[in-house]
Each structure stands twice: as structure tokens, then as C-alpha cells.
């Protein structure tokens, strides 16, 4: 999927901006606060039905404007042209989505229609911070590609709260009634093992493209890897039934702890995705630049995953990715981008985009200044 043109009206600092994109790298160049990231945000609206960045739609509308409107033309991998728009009316507080002119019944129906993979400075946390960020990474990717996963995840969260309440009540009453706890344990294991299986399957898929991308970007042969760290005894290739049996066993082992602490201690809500660098846990010792490279390699693998599962190449949105990379790595990232589908990236300085890209109509440089867009001239 690639985007060919975009129009933003009263969206952030864009009064009425029209942009034509090339099929390759599209570099949005401009100083801070000129509206580069807002363009990525607009694309994210069409991809997810909401912003990657803002929590509220009202934050995105221009001050005093009654609405914002994002309208775009896309071309799918098999050459089909699709028009899409999303409009948010402040007064009604409602978003309306249209594809080829016909309104969609619910905004969420647009999710997955125009797949995109975003990398922003906010994602630095995936490698560096806690396991919750890494679970979120897997969850967002899997929810975009499997409606069943989304459903299982929502129900798992509800079951978890119910089960925790039983454990907590039991702690106050000095003992748990197995008859009351067991149905929730069954439901937890049933949903949880499907979630774990899907996450492991996905991690297994990401492994190879992640290693390949890291090796190319870093220009080293240092071994890297991804490990889904979950239930003790979990092994690749286990089916949901085997995972379920293991899950039961682990819950049994921890049953006294769970009752003492009044909460569920094992399951997908406690799992982690570990990054290995030189055979060690990268979270603990990787440098700033290595973190960034691991993250780009991970996003690269995500592109391949979405492409394989959806049979459609996602658009790659890179926000301010080049700032922390040395010129050699930046050139390798650009080289990698050049060979792949469409990418839209932001940079404060064209100098950061050194390399041997032939800037023309396929790979474009655009200058973004005070909410306007013009061809970039050095």
C-alpha cells in the first residue's frame, strides 16, 4: 500500500496543505515545530482511525476551527486506487470515515485497510524501558493483523480482573474456594494460551528479518535475537493445547503465592519480549545508538510481518529517526529504505540524509515550513 496524495484541512498547523508523494522515500525536511510530524500523524489517522500521538481528537483540530479533515489517495500493491477520508467535527465530537466515498459504519473498520508501521522517538522505550512497552508492541501488531487476537486480548483482560478479585476476596476471607476460582482459571488458560501461542509464533517470524536487518544496519556480524520470555518451560512450536497444559502447571506451582498476594502471577500479562545482543540482554547494556538500531531492525521485521500476514506492504513512517544515528548507519538505513516499499520520514536537516539516493520523483525531498509544503531545494 502506498499513499499518492494527501490533503489536510485545519489539522494541527496545516490550514490547507496538499502533498504529492513518490513511491519510494519521501523526506519531509524542516525545522522543529513546522508541521512535519503532523503529516505522519494524519497518515496514522487513516491507518488506525486515530492518532499515533494525541490522546484526543480535539487536540488535533486547529484552534477555533469547527472540524479537521484528512483526505488521501492510495494505491494498493496490486495497483488498485483507493480514496479515503476521515473528518472530525468538534461540535458533534464525532469522526466520520469514508472509503471511495461511502461512509464506514464504525471508525474502527478502517483499521488494517491502509497498514502502516510507525517509528517515533517515543518508541525508544520498546527496547529500553519495561516489559509492558514490549508487550504493547506485540499486541498492537497482532491486533492489526488478527481480529481474533484483539477479541481474545480484550476478554483475557476482563477474566484477569475477575480472577484477581476472587483471589483478593479469598485473601480477606482466609482461603480460596476452588469451585469459585477454577472457572476463572479455566477461562484464563483458554484465552491466555491462545495469546501466548500467537505472540510466540509472531516472535518466531520476526527473528530472521530482525537479525538480517540488524546485521545490515549495524554493519557488524554481532549476533542479535528476540526471545519471547513467558511461562517457565515454554518452547517454540508448542500448540495452544500444550501451552495450556503448561500454563495450568505453572498456576498450580504458584497457587500459594497467588493466594497470599491476591493476584494472578503467571500469564501473558507478565511476559516479556527480550532483545539479545552479543548473547546478553540488550535492555541492560546496549548503547543509545545500539538501542536505536535494534529498534529500527525490529520495525523492519514488523513491516515484513504485516506484509506477509496481510499480503500488503505497509507504509513505513519514520519520525526523527536519523537524529541519533552516525552518518554511516544513517546511510545504511536509507539504503535499506531505498530497496523497499514507500517510506515517509522527517528530518530537521537534509544533511542527516547523506547517502547516494537519487532524489527525483520516486524519492522525494519536501520542505515543510509553517504548515506548508514545497519541493526542497538545497
Amino acid at each position: 500500500m502506498r499513499i499518492t496524495s494527501l490533503r489536510l484541512r485545519t489539522f494541527r498547523n496545516h490550514d490547507d496543505t496538499r502533498i504529492e508523494f513518490g513511491g519510494g522515500i519521501n523526506a519531509l525536511i524542516g525545522r522543529n515545530g513546522q508541521g512535519k510530524t503532523n503529516i505522519l500523524e494524519a497518515v496514522s489517522y487513516l491507518s488506525l482511525g486515530k492518532s499515533f500521538f494525541a490522546a484526543l481528537d480535539t487536540q488535533v483540530v486547529q484552534h477555533n476551527a469547527p472540524f479537521f479533515d484528512v483526505h488521501a489517495s492510495f494505491v494498493s500493491d496490486n495497483g488498485r486506487a483507493i480514496e479515503a477520508s476521515i473528518t472530525f467535527a468538534v461540535q458533534e465530537g464525532e469522526k466520520a470515515v469514508r472509503i471511495n466515498g461511502s461512509p464506514l459504519e464504525k471508525v474502527s473498520a478502517i483499521v488494517g485497510e491502509f497498514p502502516a508501521v510507525l517509528l517515533s522517538p517515543d518508541h525508544g522505550g520498546i527496547v529500553a524501558s519495561g516489559p509492558a512497552e514490549r508487550r504493547k508492541f506485540l499486541d498492537i501488531m497482532l491486533c492489526q493483523t488478527s481480529a481474533r487476537y484483539l477479541n481474545d486480548l480484550q476478554e483475557y483482560r476482563r477474566i484477569l480482573r475477575q480472577r484477581n478479585r476472587v483471589l483478593l476476596d479469598a485473601r480477606h476471607q482466609g482461603g480460596v474456594d476452588a469451585g469459585v476460582l477454577d472457572p476463572w482459571t479455566e477461562a484464563l488458560v483458554d484465552h491466555g494460551s491462545r495469546i501466548i501461542q500467537k505472540r510466540m509464533e509472531c516472535t518466531g517470524f520476526l527473528q530472521e528479518p530482525f537479525m538480517t536487518a540488524y546485521t545490515r544496519l549495524a554493519g557488524t556480524t554481532e549476533p542479535v535475537g528476540l526471545v519471547y520470555a513467558g511461562l517457565h518451560g515454554l518452547a517454540a512450536g508448542m500448540d495452544a493445547k500444550a501451552i495450556g497444559a503448561l500454563y495450568h502447571e505453572r498456576l498450580h506451582v504458584h497457587r500459594h503465592d497467588e493466594q497470599r498476594r491476591g493476584t494472578t502471577l503467571v500469564g501473558p500479562h507478565r511476559d516479556d519480549l527480550e532483545f539479545l545482543l552479543r548473547g546478553m540482554n540488550a535492555q541492560d547494556f546496549a548503547s543509545q545508538g545500539e538501542h536505536k538500531t535494534l529498534l529500527i531492525a525490529l520495525k523492519w521485521a514488523e513491516v515484513l510481518y504485516v506484509r506477509t500476514v496481510r499480503d500488503e506492504t505497509p507504509m513505513l513512517l519514520l519520525d526523527d529517526v536519523f537524529a541519533e544515528l552516525d552518518s554511516e548507519r544513517a546511510a545504511r538505513v536509507l539504503g535499506q529504505l531505498e530497496e523497499n516499499g514507500q517510506a515517509i520520514l522527517t528530518a530537521t536537516d537534509a544533511g542527516l540524509l547523506a547517502g547516494e539516493i537519487a532524489w527525483d520523483t520516486h524519492h522525494r525531498r519536501l520542505r515543510i515550513e509553517r504548515g506548508t509544503c514545497a519541493p526542497y531545494t538545497p
Binding site: I159, R165, V180, P183, W184, E186, A187
Partner: protein, 198 residues
Amino acid sequence: MIYTSEALQQLVEEFAALPGIGRKTALRLALHILKQPREDVVKMARALVNVKDKISWCSVCSNITETDPCVICSSTKRDPRIICVVEEPSDVLALEKTNDFKGLYHVLGGALSPLDGIGPEELKVGELLKRLPGEVTEVILALNPNVEGEATTMYLTRLLKPLGVQVSRLARGLPVGGNLEFTDEATLSRALEGRITL
């Protein structure tokens, strides 16, 4: 807002206390009542009081009834070997509309939900156990297909199976007359899982 009549204000407040009714709708309803002929209003008031005076719970199936046992439990045309367990009286009405079920019912009064403080004691589980096994050979669990309904189904299955009755549950599937294209993916995915060999 100042009401020129205390009686009107009282009625508005009564309506507004009902579920799903805001103050605006309450006022509209109250003014509507005011315009109605007196006998219609009396009829309605009587209907309200009757609901409280005449309806009680069936001592056998816990459904709402005016006679005890209820008309379904005391009917000789129903098959007493099959009991269908549901959450609410409204579920009985829904199943009765099918005209396909000729057995008896048991109304639990909800589903297990620890977060809302609903455990087995809050439901009519003991009453169900008292009816078993007797002449009952099958119990159909027809609870809502959500997290709480599923957990309740699991809870009851474990309780009922040792009693030597057949325990079944409703199938999960596609709405009849619907369109595959417009079915949500999660329902479709489960229907696929529960596919039937022909």
C-alpha cells in the same frame, strides 16, 4: 429550573430515576401523562402496582410468575426431563418465542462476576441442584456468550456432571439470515473453529 407544580416535579423525578431516562425525557413523559385521559392514567398506575403485588418468583424455576409454581413448571405438556438454565427471565421469553423448546427452565438471576460481588450464593444455584437429578436427564446451559457467562457455564458444568445428567451448551455461530461479509471477524473466527463435518 422552577416547576409550577409540585406534583409534576415529583413525577419527573420518579421517571428520571428509571434506567436509561434522563431529565429531559422524564419531563416529556410527565407532560404526556398530564395530557392523557384520567382513566388511562389510572390504568397505567394500576399496572405498575400490579407488577409488584401479583408477581413473585416461582419456587421451582425462579422465573417471575403470578402462580406458584409457574405456568411452565406446572404444565403437563412440558418435558420435565430437560432443564434449560438461563441468566434472566427475559431469556426465558426469548427462548419461548422460538416454540422449539418444550422442556423446563431454571433462571439463575445473573452470572458469576466477582467484580460485581456476584458469587454462586447470589445466584439460584442451590435451587437448581435441588431439582436434580430426579427425572431430569439433560441440562442445557444457555448463558450469554461473554466472559461471565462462559465462566458460569464452566462452574455449573463441574457441579452438574457428577450428578449423572447430560450437560450441554448452546452452539456458537453465525446469526441466521445474516451475511458472512458483514459478520464481525471474532464471531466468524469462532464459527470457523466450531465448524461441523457434513
